[in-house]
């Protein structure tokens, strides 16, 4: 008996040792990886206080100092009230990014929620087919989306101007007219927003469809038995029940539109006259075109603050539990 117990504990000890070795074997590389992550983050943070360009010979530590001087919070002061080209471009980019994000969100919801709701009403046979096709653009490479839309926007041979001509309108140079605008937003911005919306709405639709499907059938039936109209059933029952999904979709849509880059870089590259210059594009150009990495790091930090703000807002609001 005694021997048995001893043997058992020995085996357990061996097991614990083997487990410990495994844990150590995985956590050690993870620890190294996380340390590199911290290093990268720290570097990003430090860079924004320097006037840094990788071409210059700087100090011994990370090339900082020397001809890459420490400038403190000068970048941020410059952003707020500077008169340099970079500073005004930053402000334009920030404004355009906000316009983009705040225009995309309502437009996206106005398309996705009704369509998802309608899709829930029709027969199962067609539902799958419709959903598949609506989802196709989401999977398409954004470069491909941009090229397709560029060809549709072509001032001479594009289909969109062909439609405009068909209805007797004058053709528009959609992507290169700096003066044309609608509701205070330039036509070029509307044009890239349309392409962006086209690529993106299938994603939110699929999420809404999943949320609508999760609503228990009894609730919908109860409303029907009580004689509620479709509209009333939608506003009084469906909408409150998918509130958490609504919030999630809003935040995700906001986050991705704040970081929009691909479509705009390919379609307009910020033109005409910086009308579509957004923050990510400005960061990219400063960092990798003009080698102005310190400034670009400071700009990324601003974008980071915006993204973080939205994320924290999301976590605060989404924490409300919902049960049905």
């Amino acid at each position: 008996m005694n021997v048995l117990r001893k043997k058992g504990s020995k085996a357990r000890g061996g097991l614990a040792l083997a487990k410990g070795r495994f844990v150590l074997g995985v956590t050690l590389p993870l620890l190294v990886y996380e340390s590199i992550g911290v290093f990268v983050l720290a570097w990003a943070f430090i860079l924004m206080f320097f006037d840094y360009s990788p071409g210059r010979v700087g100090g011994p530590i990370l090339g900082l100092g020397g001809s890459n001087p420490f400038v403190g919070i000068d970048h941020f002061i410059e952003m707020v009230k500077g008169t340099s080209v970079e500073a005004s471009l930053f402000r334009i980019s920030l404004k355009n990014t906000l316009i983009f994000a705040f225009a995309i969100l309502p437009l996206n919801l106005a398309i996705t929620l009704p369509l998802a709701y309608l899709l829930e009403q029709i027969g199962d046979r067609f539902k799958a087919m419709y959903r598949t096709i609506y989802f196709l653009p989401v999977l398409t490479s954004s470069v491909g989306v941009a090229l397709i839309w560029m060809s549709m926007y072509d001032p001479q041979a594009g289909w969109i101007n062909a439609i405009v001509r068909f209805f007797g309108g004058t053709p528009v140079t959609w992507l290169s007219d700096p003066r044309a605008g609608f509701l205070g937003i330039s036509v070029a911005m509307w044009a890239v927003m349309l392409a962006y919306l086209w690529q993106d709405y299938g994603y939110n639709m699929v999420i809404f469809i999943a949320a609508l499907q999760a609503i228990p059938q009894e609730l919908k039936d109860a409303a029907m038995i009580d004689g509620a109209s479709s509209w009333k059933a939608f506003t009084k029952i469906t909408l409150p029940l998918i509130r958490p999904t609504m919030l999630f979709v809003c935040v995700m849509t906001m986050l991705s539109s704040f970081q929009v880059f691909d479509i705009i870089q390919v379609m307009t590259n910020g033109d005409p006259g910086n009308r579509t210059q957004v923050l990510m594009l400005d960061i990219y150009k400063n960092a990798f075109r003009y080698q102005n990495l310190g400034w670009a790091a400071a700009e990324s930090f601003i974008l980071f603050l915006i993204v973080m703000g939205v994320t924290i807002f999301q976590m605060r609001v989404l924490r409300t539990d919902w049960e049905y």
Binding site: Y130, L136, A162, V206, I207, Q217, M280
Partner: protein, 293 residues
Amino acid sequence: MAENTLKGFPPARAPQPSRGPGALGRFLAYFLLTLGLSFTLLPFVMMILSSFKTNTELLRVPPTFLPEQFTLENYRTIFNDPKLPLLHFYSNSAFVAVFNVVSTLFTSSLIGYLFAKFEFPGKRLLFGWFLTLMMIPSQITMIPSFLILSKLGLINSLWGLIIFSAVDAFGIFMMRQFCETLPNELMDAARIDGASEWQIFLQIVLPQLRPALATFGILHFMGSWNAYLWPMIVLQKIEVRTLPIILTWYNSTHTGQGALVMAATVMIMVPILIVFINFQRWIVQGFTMSGFK
């Protein structure tokens, strides 16, 4: 549905012939949905039709709908272009995508398994640290990551793309959640049989994770295939580029040759379409599971 109606009670009102909207509403629903469907499909149709037109026809005003002269010449040109060996760029993209998928699947399942099934000192701290790092958006780490890659001499190397994307937060979450549902008895039984911890992971845990691995792997493959900004930063020489970057380069060097560009655009989408058609259900499920794009 039949179970949900009040059994045994006579309906208070005349029973409705069908649940939901009436005939008119149904018609309106189909009408609006089909309208949206056409809007979704039209750009694809335009792209495919254009890729079979001659370039002169593509430039005509007003544009033709169907190609008057159906031609495969555009596809022949882009595949035989000496400056653009398309197959070479396919293999670049495939190389990066495959290595990205394999490495992230491995790290995600391993780390997810660790955090789900093992207790060790500092676990919460390590996980919290990890979460914080992963929540940092990539644009803030993009610049130092680039500097590190250039110090390591990995600019213009496909490995540069692979190394920095070997760990993925979403994958780890997904695998951790999945591993938590595995019964501990499964692993304990193997331990009693004398299997080593690595054997347990590779031979018992991994096969159990197959559905999650498949879903995540497919999503990750598509993400890697379509990635644009980071590959554009890292891959500056033409011959090492992946497809999306080569596509924009091709577009800017072939202005006025829209038919060729459309054919190239079709070709970059084909692999994704094949993947999508085969794994549709898993993909839609995966996208719905979390906010992953």
